[in-house]
């Protein structure tokens, strides 16, 4: 029996603010899982802390709402122990690029086969609107007493240099496009990162839905009003590394595009490279049967509750008469 979109939803009351961009991301995740017919029990959604941290409670799969900034190591631990799980990690930009930035970098180096989605609204919403790592220098959103003193981090470029092997950006009000991106991220062999632009209607009065729609943004050539976001794929951009030698060039063009902001903000796949071995592949290099019997599928005791591991060899080596 095919799983319906409704099967991926829980009845938990959603207390996000009306108009919150998070709703679009939640819908896109549920739609992607439903279209891929991922069995409910096979998927686990991990989250950090903040408004986005509540996401797993609204999705009817396993849901692990972790600590502030620590979603990636929690999620990697589960995926490494049971590579059959479909693991999605979600969190805010403060969670992933502020308090959790160290894990962001190190996760890139590992390339565990899973997906990480950042709900990027440039503010700490749940603590009432402080500046988050993606807020631009000098910006003063509604609840800041003074303009932001820090420069913003570029999540796409950071993911690229950290070693993420799939890097894309979506927009929470373009749910259909975002859903496709999520599906591609899940299908990707390796660690996929999605930067999702997500207006916070309560605390970010600069990067609003209207701002993204470009109500004040005009094409200098024809004077026509135009949305700020555009899709990379519609401009002929191709971020996929088809041969290993292309990696450097593709990284360069991805960084160039990642610096676009203001009147033109790219969406879509910036970079994808499946030539880098996943962490799972690397474990197989050390433990040849890892994928057949990963940690979660080992019987550690027999029917008499005795350990199955045999220490004889290790102990023999230490015997006094040896």
């Amino acid at each position: 029996m095919a799983l319906k979109l409704a099967d991926y939803k829980t009845t938990v009351h959603n207390d996000w603010c009306p108009g919150c961009g998070d709703f679009g991301i939640l819908n896109a995740i549920q739609m992607a899982l439903s279209e891929m017919q991922t069995p409910l029990h096979r998927a686990t959604i991990f989250s950090g802390i903040g408004c986005s941290g509540k996401t797993p409670h609204f999705i009817h799969t396993y849901g692990i709402h972790t600590l502030h900034g620590r979603v990636l190591p929690f999620a990697q631990g589960a995926k490494i122990c049971n590579p059959d799980l479909e693991v999605l990690a979600v969190g805010g930009d403060g969670d992933g690029l502020g308090i959790g930035a160290g894990h962001f970098i190190s996760s890139g180096r590992r390339n565990v086969d899973m997906v990480y989605i950042i709900f990027n609204n440039a503010v700490y919403g749940l603590t009432k609107g402080q500046a988050a790592p993606t807020l631009k220098l000098g910006m003063k959103t509604k609840s800041l007493t003074q303009p932001n003193m820090n420069n913003s981090v570029n999540p796409i470029a950071l993911a690229l240099v950290a070693g993420f092997t799939f890097i894309g950006r979506g927009y929470s009000y373009d749910v259909r496009h975002l859903k496709e991106l999520i599906k591609k991220a899940i299908e990707h062999k390796g660690l996929a990162f999605l930067d999702v632009l997500q207006p916070c209607p309560t605390y970010n009065d600069i990067n609003t839905k209207e701002w993204y729609q470009g109500l004040d943004n005009f094409n200098p050539e024809n004077g026509k009003q135009m949305p700020r976001t555009y899709k990379l794929e519609e401009t002929g951009y191709d971020g996929i590394v088809r041969q290993p030698y292309e990696a450097s060039t593709k990284m360069g063009q991805a960084i160039e595009r990642s610096n676009e902001w203001g009147s033109k903000i790219p969406l879509g796949i910036f970079y994808q490279n499946e030539h880098i071995p996943t962490y799972q592949d690397r474990i197989v290099g050390r433990i040849p049967n890892y994928l057949e019997i990963p940690p979660a599928k080992q019987d550690i005791s027999d029917q008499n509750n005795k350990p199955t591991a045999k220490l004889d060899k290790l102990l023999d080596d230490l015997r006094a008469d040896k």
Partner: protein
């Protein structure tokens, strides 16, 4: 003047610059003694440094089981000047020093790694005795103490040896000086050369060529000493006795790791830290596991993480898939882990932290010993959540205890902090071979399958945190069909969703915290505390302690027993929840309660006050970073018995 020989009982010390082969020489010595059927206890002391600073290894040998070191040195083996300056005066009357003839004119100022404080102490000592501030001065000082000196001209020997084997790469041969020194000591002790050869072969078994070279160097040095000195003049002697295949020579940084393999731990994460890293590295180098019954190979995945926060959170992520997961760390790393332990507590996730204590606070003495983290481990993390804190007393215990702590973690679905320390990790001893089948694996309420009985509720029929009479609800692995649940660091419902409902909060707190009552009830007495010996009704003296002081205390009270003084010893193992009624019972008839701990405050004493409302009469504490010797404990107890001791005795021995 011939004295009677002391056979198979001595303390042997080798010192040298870090990186110069002190450890391998000590390992060969230890292995040779165990192959000769003798018992050993060895401990390693070193600086937080890669190369150049002074390190030394103490090995005590006996024909009976021993569990600690003593203060005296009977044979000091050196091939540098610093070892002589630092330890030369500690050698007993009738003991010996093996030294390099070429170093006698070295002045103490010429040794850059002797720090100002040590320099001052040694200088004062030599000046007071009217000795020159040179190696010769120190040797003269030792000679006055009745120490016998054995000069070995290593360089000359190396040159001759190089001619003999026709290998002229002296720089390569120089690397055998450690083995030459060790072998010289074996000649003085009249030790069997065939056993020595076997031990060298064993230690260098991965490098047969190096083994061969070292054996040749060892023989050369052995024969030189034999021809030059009359070994009958030396009181100490090591003789081969009957060996037993039931005895193993075990290092304390591998015993708990071995326990993990047997316990079924299949995921370990770590961030490098002394002295905990060895645990993880042992697992990494033995990650393919032989399994019964069909000879299939299981494995343990070891991940080096970016920090300790990632280490603990990744381990918890692994534990959620039903894998026995652990991390190993020391104080600074443990400090970073505490928020996540609270998360494991509220979500009832079984995870084990092997906490190898070292001297704190902050970086403290990173390579030195202390038991300063007891109160911190018990109180770690904000808010109230159940955890078990368990302390092993020695290498042998640490193996079995490791299996037990995984059982506790899974039975009671909570984090367990397994307290170990630098003294255990950096010691080596002969003990009975581990019986890995002695302790069963108990996975508690882990469900492998869930049969759906209907379609009610958001999570079907399965409730991860179901309220029931038994506070322990069934656990499933992530990925189990029909078992969907949620976790959150927030207070949660039976399904695992966020709730701030006050009544639910009370019930959930009760559910979680009452698991400790159950653990207190179910954990067997021998895992809570062990009472050794009995006290004389007249004195009524009982010692309480925990962790690695065990061996030194047992050896000290054995010595007191020989002298007709009986002291009881209560070793507390389950530190939290505290086994109040059992310890209280063990302390019945105690008139004088002595707390022995390797920290400043006497943290177990505070726990006893808190839980038993009982005062400690005498505290014997030590916090100079060097583990307690049985001599120190013996002396302190004698002091207390004399009736003149202060209420708090601070031990200070150690270099």
């Amino acid at each position: 003047m011939t004295q009677s020989k002391i056979s198979n009982s001595l303390t042997w010390v080798i010192g040298g610059a870090q990186g110069s082969g002190v450890d391998s020489a000590a390992n060969i010595f230890s292995k040779a003694c165990s192959q000769a059927g003798l018992y050993i206890f060895g401990k390693r002391e070193y600086y937080s440094n890669i190369k150049g600073e002074h390190s030394y290894f103490t090995v005590r040998v006996s024909d009976k089981q021993i569990r600690s070191h003593v203060d005296d040195i009977n044979l000091l083996v050196s091939f540098d000047a610093e070892t002589l300056f630092r330890h030369g005066d500690k050698v007993t009357k009738g003991g010996g020093i093996i030294y390099d003839q070429d170093l006698v004119n070295t002045t103490i100022q010429e040794v850059p790694t002797i720090d100002d404080q040590a320099l001052k102490k040694i200088t004062n000592m030599l000046k007071k005795a009217n000795k020159s501030l040179t190696v010769q001065g120190m040797l003269d000082y030792a000679k006055d103490n009745g120490t016998i000196l054995y000069n070995v001209p290593y360089f000359q020997l190396l040159r001759e040896f190089s001619e003999k084997i026709n290998d002229h790469s002296l720089s390569k041969l120089t690397r055998t000086v450690n083995v030459m020194a060790l072998s010289a000591s074996m000649a003085v002790l009249d030790f069997d050369t065939t056993v020595l050869t076997r031990a060298i072969k064993h230690i260098f078994r991965a490098k047969p060529k190096i083994a061969e070279l070292n054996i040749a160097a060892a023989n050369y040095s052995y024969n030189y000493v034999k021809s030059r000195f009359n070994s009958t003049e030396f009181r100490f002697k090591l003789t081969k006795v009957q060996t037993s295949s039931d005895i193993i020579l075990m290092q304390g940084n591998q015993s708990s790791a071995m326990g993990k393999i047997s316990a079924g731990c299949r995921f370990q994460t770590y961030y490098p830290i002394t002295p905990a890293s060895d645990d993880s590295e042992f697992l990494e180098s033995n990650q393919i596991i032989e399994s019964t019954p069909d000879g299939k190979k299981d494995s343990i995945v070891v991940v080096q993480t970016e920090d300790e926060i990632a280490a603990i959170t990744m381990a918890i992520g692994g534990a959620l898939t039903g894998v026995r997961s652990a991390t190993a760390t020391s104080g600074p790393g443990f400090s970073l882990m505490t928020e996540a332990l609270g998360w494991a507590g509220i979500n009832e996730v079984p995870v084990v932290v092997s906490l190898y204590q070292r001297a704190g606070p902050s970086t403290g003495l990173p390579t030195r010993h202390e038991q300063g983290d007891l109160m911190f481990a018990i109180n770690c993390g904000h808010g109230e959540f159940p955890k078990i804190v368990f302390a092993s007393g020695d290498i042998e215990e640490s193996f079995y205890d490791t299996i037990k702590v995984f059982n506790f973690a899974e039975k009671y679905q909570l984090p367990v902090i397994h307290m170990l320390d630098k003294a255990i990790a950096n010691s080596i001893m002969t003990c009975r071979v581990f019986d890995q089948y002695k302790i069963n694996i108990d996975r508690g309420r882990l469900l492998e399958n869930i049969i759906p009985a209907g379609d009610t509720g958001v999570a079907g029929n399965y409730l991860r945190f179901k309220f029931d009479e038994n506070p322990i609800s069934s656990r499933v692995r992530l990925g189990t069909e029909n078992g969907i649940f949620w976790n959150t660091g927030d207070e949660h419902t039976e399904e695992g969703h966020i709730t701030e409902d006050p009544d639910n909060r009370i019930k959930m707190m009760n559910k979680r915290m009452s698991k400790l009552d159950l653990a207190s009830k179910e954990i067997p007495a021998e895992d809570k505390a062990i009472a050794y010996g009995h006290n004389d009704p007249s004195s009524g003296m009982t010692i309480v302690s925990w962790g690695s002081t065990k061996g030194a205390i047992l050896d000290a009270i054995d010595q007191l027993t020989v002298e007709g003084k009986n002291v009881k010893f209560v070793q507390v193992r389950l530190m939290h929840p505290f086994p109040s009624s059992l310890v209280e019972k063990m302390l019945e008839n105690t008139k004088v309660l002595v707390d022995i701990e390797m920290n400043y405050t006497g943290q177990l004493g505070l726990l006893i006050k808190q839980n038993l409302n009982r005062n400690i009469n005498y505290k014997i504490v030590k916090y100079n970073g060097r583990s307690m010797s049985s001599s120190e404990i013996y002396n302190a107890l004698m002091y207390i018995i004399s009736g003149n001791a202060p209420r708090r005795i601070v031990l200070e021995h150690g270099a």
